[in-house]
């Protein structure tokens, strides 16, 4: 279906990737910890390595829970598929994409 309108109804997406320049929006869910009510959303450079994304962004967010141990995340998924980062892999290469989702468990 499409919008019924009296005129040509065509507007750009408000959060299209180009509005974020060289960055992406990336969502992260800590799957087995209900302390976090929802996944987190980050803005991060496409070229950032996954390792840096994890240590600089995910770790400081996950540390909202004082029991978080940065060495414990496992069973990573990217957009529903199993994921393991190779050395130096960038966010762009990880396949997460703009507004995609990483999931981990501990």
């Amino acid at each position: 279906m499409t919008v019924k309108a009296l005129y040509d109804y065509d507007y750009p997406s408000k959060d299209r990737q180009e509005n974020f320049g060289d960055d992406l929006l990336v969502n992260v869910m800590w799957a087995n910890n209900m302390m976090f009510c929802a996944p987190a959303c980050f803005r991060a450079p496409k070229a950032m390595s996954f390792a840096d994304f994890k240590s600089q962004m995910i770790d400081s967010w996950a540390a909202s829970d004082p029991d978080y141990d940065p060495s414990t995340p496992r069973d990573w998924q990217v957009n529903g598929k199993p994921f393991s980062a190779t050395d130096g892999m960038s966010l762009e290469e990880s396949g997460v994409g703009h507004k995609g989702l990483f999931v981990f468990r501990t």
Binding site: L6, K14, C37, K99, L101
Partner: protein, 507 residues
């Protein structure tokens, strides 16, 4: 010589319908350009039964008297420091939610019913829209007057209109209503008059007004009584409008069914804020969200209204089963969201006191002790160690309802639900099958959603740091937001209720 007085009915006929005429110099389609493109066919506008049957002069006279009585009560309550006899200062959080979340919707309704009062083809329908437009403006004013007295003593109430436009969780009601007013007139009537003002109205109105009554807020309770006669007219209009459209043409039925499906889920997701208010912000409970849902939705609507609508070929809303499944946990999930994001809200949240948790165990025997009590108890323990738990970051939001993605898979309250759609090569995320279904019907519309988190990241909300965003919201950090137990509202309340010392004065 005295003139015979006309009956009300006769005056109504002469002053509304009798003043209408058929345009002959201009095509009706040009005078009323918005009532055809949605596909709804109306063959006879005169079949419209007006539930108002009022004239402007009688409306003005009667409503002015009613509003004057309300203002007398509000004034007396304010003069007598009525706020001191509330159940607790924590109750005022529900008023913060009401003034910032609901009052601006009344104003938006006023504007859009004003538009319909010009653009519906039938004079009866136009006049009904006119009366409702004035009602909605009166409600905006009376709500502001009723609640403004609290602004002198409590945080979070000082710029409700700006907050409605900017604060993250208020984008939920705002985008809901803007979805309605940017639709055509018949969809708007189905969305607001039928779904919101008839189908879901008790779930919205009763928690706030009974909540006021149970918690010593005579002013807001009196507003509720005062508005009740208007609201019952709006309900009548909501049912009349849906029956009118269904009776006019068989081809209207599938279109209306589709709108009922959409607006049930839109309204239901919006009401999740009310559900958490009801269970968590009212120190004196009325009933649980679950009981309220069973009474007003399952019994009154699904068992009462929908069997009647079946006659027209209308079935209960799509996804209603999911709402029934969620009644055991939705209010807790949303309260948990509000608790950990209260640093960016104009209200205070806290762990429920022990007696309230026991009440919840009774009200939610299958879920509370198993899933939510452990979370609240851990939060309390962290707080006691000086580590009040906040989500230190921004949440992933649903593209449709705009609520943080804190809802779970149907029947599994421990697994967060994530649905996605791809549109023109871009990914969109949803909290539920209902919100995804709504997006997939009209992706061109929802790709334009103003999602607070993504707007912050684009730099459109005053900056990208929390202090900058709070300033842009108009939230005074440490005054309006965050934890209740350490809030100025709580400190003031304790001071006002400290035992008085002989010879000491109240400062």
């Amino acid at each position: 010589m005295a003139r015979a007085k006309l009956s009300m009915r006769e005056r109504y006929r002469l002053l509304t319908r009798d003043l209408d005429w058929e345009p002959t110099y201009v095509e009706p389609e040009k005078v009323y350009p918005y009532t055809r493109y949605e596909g709804i066919k109306i063959h006879d506008w005169d079949a419209w039964e007006d539930p108002f049957r009022l004239t402007v002069d009688s409306y003005a006279k009667y409503q002015a008297e009613k509003d004057k009585k309300l203002y007398a009560v509000v004034e007396g309550f304010a003069q007598g420091q009525g706020h001191l006899s509330l159940s607790d200062a924590r109750y005022v959080n529900s008023l913060k939610l009401f003034l910032c979340g609901v009052t601006p919707l009344e104003y938006a309704a006023h504007r859009h019913f004003g538009f319909l009062a010009r653009y519906l083809d039938g004079p009866g329908a136009r006049f009904a829209a006119l009366c409702q437009s004035i009602d909605e403006l009166r409600h905006t004013q009376t709500e502001i007057h009723t609640i403004s007295q609290y602004n002198k003593y409590y945080g979070g109430l000082h710029n409700f209109s700006q907050m409605h436009d900017r604060v993250w969780y208020l984008s939920v009601p705002k985008s809901f209503f803007e979805d309605g007013i940017s639709a055509g007139p018949f969809e708007f009537l189905t969305a607001i008059s039928f779904s919101f003002e008839y189908f879901l109205t008790n779930l919205l109105f009763v928690p706030f007004m009974s909540g006021a009554s149970f918690n010593g807020d005579l002013a807001t309770m009196t507003f509720g009584f005062s508005a009740q006669s208007d609201e019952s007219r709006h309900m009548t209009l909501g049912l009349e409008v849906i029956k009118f459209m269904l009776e006019q043409d068989e081809g209207n039925v599938p279109i209306i069914q589709d709108w009922i499906d959409k607006w049930f889920w839109r309204g239901y997701r919006l009401l999740s804020l009310v559900a958490s208010m009801m269970d968590y912000m009212l120190p004196k409970k009325i009933m649980s969200w679950k009981e309220s849902f069973e009474l007003y939705l399952e019994q009154q609507m699904l068992e009462g209204l929908f069997p009647d609508l079946e006659y027209y070929g209308i079935r209960p809303p799509r996804h209603v089963q999911q709402a029934i499944t969620e009644k055991d946990y939705m209010s807790h999930q949303v309260a948990w969201i509000l608790y950990q994001f209260s640093f960016a809200a104009n209200f205070n949240a806290t762990v429920p006191p022990k007696e309230e948790m026991d009440w919840m165990s009774q009200a939610y025997p299958d879920t509370f002790d198993r899933h939510y009590r452990p979370l609240w108890e851990r939060a309390r323990s962290l707080q006691e160690q000086g580590k009040r738990f906040f989500f230190q970051g921004l949440p992933m939001l649903c593209q449709t309802c705009q609520i943080p993605m804190g809802f779970t898979e149907p029947g599994d309250p421990t697994t967060l639900c994530v649905r996605t759609s791809e549109y023109r090569g871009e990914r969109f995320n949803f909290c539920s099958d209902g919100c995804k279904w709504i997006f997939d019907r009209e992706p061109e519309k929802y790709v334009q959603a103003w999602l607070p988190v993504h707007q912050i990241y684009q730099g459109n909300c005053g900056g990208t740091s929390i202090p900058e965003v709070l300033e842009w919201y108009g939230i005074q950090d440490g005054v309006d937001n965050g934890e209740y137990l350490t809030s100025p509202d709580k400190a003031n309340w304790d001071k006002w209720h400290a035992p008085s010392v002989v010879g000491g004065g109240v400062s």
